[in-house]
Structure formats: structure tokens, C-alpha cells
């Protein structure tokens, strides 16, 4: 099962009801890399992650993870594959009724028969990796946003997955937490031999850590390349995105009738 590409997405289209979100996406993620999927809000990035996780089924095209086509798997097969995936949700999605320790231990207790001593050691190791071993006894409500995300990261890597997906890991973090989270993603990917798939719209932070970038706009991939290629790209959309310009291919104004018409600035008789 030595495929060089861990995730392969071929010509995938998906829509909620009649509204198409993705219209023919091609994307591959090589083992051991940090891949970023960028695009403006609501362009279908999160949908893409859910397709890879098998929570949604594509209307067309195939999604392959570790050589297995998700469309061909039944519930049991999907669950077996998911044990090798970790996912970090936008706001952590920690279980609020149990402690940090129990959150990280959750998958170990559900999927393994390890004795409680072994679980305790494993959990503390994972928490140590994200620098929160001391917070094991806290409840999720007592954590700051950045800490909650790091706990969620520890939980995502609890079963040593081969693929970790991050849904907007940088949203709503202060600059310090931002740097910490970015570094963690890179370091864990390298030390644990993971493949990371980061969905984000934080260009500056993610360009520091990623190997390869895909730009999604209006349901298709509009640009791709390494971090340097993207930084120096002359494509108008990428340029606007990377430099955060207010106007460009993505217009500042929502489509509207002429401004003058709306304000009735024409002469009465016109």
C-alpha cells in the first residue's frame, strides 16, 4: 500500500440541493506534506474536507484515501478508514461534558482495549506534544480558544493517524496562538510522519508552513503551486488574495444596479 499520494481527488463535483458548491476539483496530497487549501469564505473548502472524511458523498468523481475509493466503502469500511484520519474542527469541537484528559482519551477508550495505565501515558504524551500536559484536568470551558484548538489537535493525533485535516485552524486566534498553532502543525507533520491538509484563508500564516497550496474559487481550483510560487504569482485572483486587496477579480461591490440609478440622480424628465 505504498502509494505516493495519500489523498487523490479526481473531478469531484458536489452540490447542496440545486446549488452547486464544487464543480470538478482535482487535488492530490503527497505523503508527509502540509497541503493548504485556500479560498474566500464560503467557497466550499470545508465541504471538500467533509468529502475526504466521507461525511458527504460526491455527486460526481472519486475521492481516494490511501488507495481506497470512499464511494465504494460501506459504513464499517468508512469507520475503519476514519480511524487513520484525524480532524481538527474550526472551534475544536471538544466534548464539553468531559475533561481535557478524557477528550484526548476518547478514541483510545472507544477503539482499543488498552489498560487505563497505558491510556494515561499515551494521553499525557499527546498532551505534552501540544504543550498542555498541565491542563489535563481542566474542563473545555476553562480553556482559551488557542488552548482548545491545541487540545483538539492532541485528540486528533491520539490514534497516530496518517492524515490530519484542519478546518480553519487559524480563525480567531491571537498572534501568539497563531504562531504556536502553525508551528505545531508543521512539527507534528514532520515528527509523526503525517500528511496534513489545512483549509484556511489565513495566507500569511499558512504560507510560512505549507509545502503546496491549492486555491479554490467558485467551485474550481484556480491556482496551485508551492508557497514561493504562490507568493510571487501574477494571477490576478491569487495576487488579490495574497495581498488582501479590496477590489480585483473578486469585486468589492455585490452585483447591483447602477449607483446613480439607485439614488435617482437622473433628471426628472430623463
Amino acid at each position: 500500500m505504498q502509494h505516493d499520494n495519500l489523498v487523490e481527488i479526481e473531478d469531484v463535483a458536489f452540490g447542496y440541493g440545486a446549488r452547486p458548491v464544487l464543480k470538478g476539483i482535482n487535488l492530490t496530497a503527497r505523503r508527509g506534506q502540509v497541503i493548504a487549501i485556500m479560498g474566500s469564505s464560503g467557497c466550499g473548502k470545508t465541504t471538500l474536507l467533509r468529502l475526504i472524511g466521507g461525511q458527504l458523498k460526491p455527486g460526481q468523481g472519486t475521492v481516494r484515501v490511501a488507495g481506497e475509493s470512499l464511494g465504494d466503502l460501506d459504513q464499517a469500511g468508512l469507520y475503519r478508514l476514519r480511524r487513520k484520519m484525524g480532524m481538527l474542527f474550526q472551534f475544536g469541537a471538544l466534548f464539553t461534558d468531559i475533561s481535557v484528559f478524557d477528550n484526548v482519551a476518547f478514541q483510545l477508550r472507544e477503539h482499543t482495549d488498552l489498560p487505563e495505565d497505558a491510556i494515561r501515558d499515551l494521553v499525557l504524551m499527546k498532551l505534552h506534544a501540544v504543550g498542555l500536559r498541565g491542563a489535563a484536568h481542566l474542563m473545555p470551558a476553562e480553556l482559551s480558544g488557542g488552548m482548545a484548538r491545541r487540545v483538539a489537535l492532541a485528540r486528533a493525533i491520539a490514534l497516530d493517524p496518517m492524515l490530519v485535516m484542519y478546518d480553519e485552524p487559524f480563525a480567531g486566534l491571537d498572534p501568539i496562538s497563531l504562531g504556536v498553532t502553525g508551528n505545531l502543525i508543521r512539527r507534528l507533520t514532520d515528527t509523526l510522519g503525517l500528511t496534513s491538509l489545512v483549509v484556511t484563508h489565513d495566507v500569511q500564516e499558512s504560507l510560512k508552513i505549507v509545502d503546496y497550496v491549492y486555491f479554490v474559487s467558485e467551485g474550481v481550483i484556480v491556482a496551485e503551486g508551492t508557497a514561493d510560487e504562490i507568493r510571487n504569482s501574477e494571477l490576478p485572483y491569487v495576487h488579490q488574495f495574497v495581498h488582501g486587496e479590496a477590489d480585483g477579480p473578486v469585486p468589492f461591490h455585490y452585483p447591483a444596479p447602477s449607483y446613480a440609478d439607485d439614488l435617482r440622480l437622473r433628471g426628472k424628465g430623463a
Binding site: G53, Q55, Y79, R80, R82, R83, M85, G86, M87, F89, Q90, F91, A93, L94, F95, T96, F106, Q107, E110, H111, A152, R155
Partner: protein
């Protein structure tokens, strides 16, 4: 105009039918995935604490007061016919047959049902259910089924406690306060209340109510739009829908159980 309203009606109908279908599938999935709830009974015990033990206070206090009021009102009426001794019968039969299961179920719906909906809805809104799915753990088996069985087990116990407490309240007011003869109070009650006809049927009723309330509460939470308004709306709907369901089911069950008796 006419076309518009017909379209609206059609749309509504499709939505209602779709929702009923979804609810049925959800209920069946819950039953099918109940293995975990029994294999790891600790999960169910934990939920019994939240739905059963935390409802105890309101159930016991309400039961006591309902029984006391029944005794006061019943005495007033029975006195007119000179049969105050039948007070025990009146209190016990109304509690065991109707008030115990029904009022306990209504209290359970507003105390535990709403809490279940809010909890599940919040878990959905904060992507906890999604996260669980991604961790290869089925939320129906891990979250929904234990809450369902906890509710189904707790409800008859709560209803029995409500009735027992009510009869005790009736005894306090009827015998201790008003002075109905104690022996007559208990013996008349015993000769009139039948185990199978009255008590067993009351227990069956409360089990059915427990199934209805927890199923509705879980479904509303699972189906709630993942927003703050969505969850609060679903919580309200749980209380309204499950209360109506309890009253409607009570009528149907009573018609089946006590037809031909009296």
C-alpha cells in the same frame, strides 16, 4: 395567487412527510444501534443520572402537592354523599391510573426532555457530533441510544414515585388533617385498586410516555439547525410536541385499557 397557495400547500406537505420519514428512520436507527447502550451500561447509567435523578425533586414535590390537593377537593365532594371513607379510593385510583403517569410525564418532558434536546442540539451546533463521526464513533450508538434507554427506564420509576408520593400526600391531608378513618382509607383503597387493571396499566402507560418523550427530544435535538436560535426553537418544540403526544397517547391507551370497566 391560487397557484401560489397550492404550491405552498404542496411544499408544506412534502416537508412534513419528509420530516416524518426522517424521524422514523432516526427512531429505527436508535433501536438498531442500542447494543452499545447495554454493552457499556455505564453510559446509560450516566444519562439516568441526568434524566432521572435530577428530575426527582420536581417529581416528588409535585406528587406530594397533587395528592394533597386531590384529598382536599375529593373530601369536599365525597362529604356531600356521606362517603368520606372512599377518599382513599379516589386519591389512589386517580393517581395510579391517570395523574401519576401523565403529570410525571409532562414534568419529565419539560425537565429532562428539554435538557436532552438542548444538549444534543448544542453538541451538533459545536460540531461535537461531527467530530465523533470523524473519530469513527457512531453518535447514534454513543450519544443518542444511551439517552433513549435512560429515559425509558427512568420514566416508569418516576411515575411510580409520583403516585406513591401523591398517595402519601392524600393520606397526610385526608387522615392526619381532616380525620378520615385511617383503616377505612387504606382498606377501601386496597379493595378497589387492582394490581393488573390499575397499577400495571399505569406502568405500561408511563413506559410508552417515556419512549415518546425521549424519542421526540432526541430527534428535535438531532434535527435542530446548528445555531443558537435553532437550538432554542427545538427545545421549545420538544416541550410542546412531547406534552401533546403524552396527552394524545394517554387518551388512546386509556380507551384500550379501561374500556368495559366501569
Amino acid at each position: 395567487m391560487l397557484r401560489q397557495s397550492i404550491e405552498n400547500l404542496g411544499n408544506r406537505t412534502i416537508q412534513v412527510v419528509w420530516r416524518i420519514g426522517f424521524a422514523t428512520r432516526f427512531f429505527l436507527a436508535t433501536l438498531l444501534h442500542s447494543g452499545t447502550a447495554f454493552r457499556r451500561f455505564g453510559l446509560t447509567i450516566r444519562e439516568m443520572y441526568f434524566s432521572g435523578v435530577l428530575s426527582l425533586i420536581i417529581i416528588l414535590v409535585s406528587g406530594l402537592f397533587v395528592g394533597m390537593v386531590l384529598a382536599l377537593q375529593g373530601y369536599e365532594t365525597l362529604q356531600t354523599y356521606g362517603s368520606e371513607e372512599a377518599l382513599g379510593i379516589l386519591v389512589a385510583l386517580s393517581l395510579v391510573r391517570e395523574l401519576g403517569p401523565v403529570v410525571a410525564a409532562l414534568l419529565f418532558a419539560s425537565r429532562a426532555g428539554s435538557a436532552i434536546t438542548a444538549e444534543i442540539g448544542l453538541m451538533k451546533a459545536t460540531e461535537q457530533l461531527s467530530a465523533m463521526e470523524m473519530m469513527a464513533v457512531d453518535p447514534i450508538a454513543r450519544v443518542v441510544a444511551p439517552r433513549f434507554w435512560a429515559g425509558v427506564i427512568s420514566m416508569p420509576l418516576l411515575a411510580a414515585l409520583f403516585s406513591a408520593m401523591g398517595i402519601f400526600g392524600g393520606y397526610l391531608v385526608g387522615v392526619q388533617l381532616i380525620g378520615v378513618d385511617e383503616g377505612a382509607f387504606w382498606s377501601q383503597m386496597q379493595s378497589a385498586v387492582d394490581f393488573e387493571q390499575d397499577i400495571l396499566n399505569g406502568v405500561i402507560k408511563s413506559v410508552v410516555f417515556g419512549v415518546a418523550i425521549t424519542a421526540i427530544a432526541l430527534f428535535e435535538g438531532y434535527d435542530a439547525p446548528p445555531t443558537a436560535e435553532g437550538v432554542s426553537g427545538a427545545t421549545t418544540r420538544t416541550v410542546v410536541t412531547s406534552s401533546l403526544a403524552v396527552l394524545a397517547l394517554d387518551f388512546v391507551l386509556t380507551a384500550f385499557m379501561f374500556r368495559g370497566i366501569s
